[in-house]
Amino acid sequence: NEIKGGSMHLIQVDSVQRWMEDLKLMTDCECMCILQSKPISIEKEEQNELILSSQYSTCDN
């Protein structure tokens, strides 16, 4: 029991700590790229904003 309370407690915090280290850099970002378009068709100036969502869990795709 002494052993369980000591080193065993250390072990199970181990994997949580690793998760927390990764978590520090883990962000779910909004779309990171807003491109603007130049319409060819001479219609009314429509919404000339092209939004490209980034994939989840990364910010830069």
Partner: protein
């Protein structure tokens, strides 16, 4: 074109026709086909440089959408050159912004900043508020990506942000805030939502967890306003993460549960797995090991389904530890063994070492005479000596303590 039109006019018409078809196809979501028509239009050529500039711009955007960034770069560059040549200032602003985005994705942050700054300067010169807001948002994104990119390289101590990372992230926050004040003035709620989300993430990376929570709460409100469930889901997981670092584990668990619920509704298995993993770890922090095991098992199932070996290894490691905490040593040994197998399979040396130590700990607790124990421990030392990470070193102390404990007279009745 009419019958009496000369060949040149027919060429004009055909370039425009090809370009219009390309535009229509891209709008319909078929960028691959759209690109072919635009390329053909460029081949035919046109005297109308404004139309040509628009073709280059749309080609650049289509290639960007198709993830062919080198091609996107080429065409946005053509567009920029042409816009400057014909003195089209608004066209130059747009081209600069698009080029900046492309350079950012290619990891060329310094040039991306120059381009986005040009977009910003021209927009201000033209008193174009919408363009100014977009340029500010893009600048924020470039600095955010730059900061995250360096932080991810991980050449620093965990928990310590290098100065260049901090500077980039602080600049990102500044630009998002400037963007936010303009889009608020313009009453553009969707743009506000995006700015709050990215501002929250920037504060989070900087370690300003309270500010991150405030921004993500705003993001959540706007997501609900629009019925945007993906954005709502993102806000929940970002809030959960921030509350972990604020030490408010119950609140974090609540947000992770909402993340999980929405991930299931949106049928996003990868996000569902991540939410289960986060919940497992959060319940471990709350020392509710039964719940932790429940969620780690859910994570394990999805990781296997998605053929995510790394995730599977993490799940087994976590499960081994949770079962150990409950004193269920049979299950603990089973999962520690799986953790060892998977770590070997994926070539994760530190995982392998951790799993070995866990297994030998468990075997000692069970008082098993493990036949290969000595050779296994010798091998552990060898692995550890070649391993430069700091993690297992703390564990060695506990191992040594265990050795000492095993040798204390009370523990060993036959001690002489």
């Amino acid at each position: 074109a009419s019958r009496s039109a000369g060949p040149a006019h027919r060429m004009e018409a055909s370039c425009l026709e090809l370009a219009l078809e390309g535009e229509r196809l891209c709008k319909a979501g078929d960028c691959r086909a759209g690109v072919s028509f635009f390329e053909a239009a460029v081949q035919v050529g046109t005297e109308d440089l404004r139309t040509l500039s628009a073709i280059y711009s749309q080609l650049g955007n289509a290639y960007f959408y198709l993830h062919e960034y080198a091609k996107a770069l080429e065409y946005h560059h053509h567009d920029l050159t042409l816009a400057r040549t014909i003195g089209d200032l608004l066209g130059e602003a747009k081209a600069s912004g698009n080029l900046g985005n492309t350079l950012k994705v290619l990891g060329n942050f310094e040039e991306a900043i120059v381009c986005c700054q040009r977009h910003l300067d021209i927009s201000r010169e033209l008193n174009d508020k919408v363009g100014e807001a977009r340029a500010l948002y893009n600048l924020g994104n470039v600095y955010h990506s730059k900061g995250k990119n360096v932080a991810n390289a991980g050449t620093h101590d965990p928990g310590e942000l290098p100065d260049d990372v901090k500077n980039a992230l602080q600049k990102a926050a500044k630009y998002y805030e400037e963007n936010l004040s303009i889009v608020t003035e313009l009453g553009d709620r969707a743009a506000q939502g995006r700015a709050f989300g990215n501002l929250g993430n920037t504060h989070y990376l900087l370690g300003n967890f309270r500010s991150a929570v405030l921004a993500h709460e705003q993001r959540l409100l706007i997501a609900k306003e629009f019925g945007d469930r993906s954005a709502e889901r993102r806000a929940y997981s970002n809030l959960g993460n921030a509350y972990i670092f604020l030490g408010e584990f119950e609140t974090a668990a609540e947000y992770y549960r909402r993340t999980l619920q929405l991930a299931r509704q949106l049928k996003d298995r990868a996000v569902e797995a991540q939410a289960c993993y986060s919940l497992g770890n959060t319940y471990t922090l709350l020392q509710d090991y039964e719940k932790a095991i429940d969620y780690h098992l859910k994570h394990l199932v999805i990781a296997q389904e998605l053929h995510d070996k790394i995730g599977e290894g993490r799940a087994c490691w976590s499960l081994g530890n949770a079962y150990t905490a409950l004193g269920n040593h049979d299950q603990a040994i089973h999962f520690a063994g799986r953790h060892l197998e998977i770590s070997r399979e994926v070539g994760d040396r530190s995982g392998e070492l951790t799993a070995r130590l866990n297994l030998s700990d468990l075997q000692m607790v069970l008082g098993l005479s493990y036949s290969t124990n000595n050779s296994m421990m010798a091998e552990s030392h060898a692995v550890e000596n070649s391993f430069n990470g700091g993690r297992p070193r703390g564990r060695r102390h506990s191992m040594e303590n265990m050795e000492l404990m095993k040798l204390t007279p009370e523990k060993v009745p036959n001690w002489n």
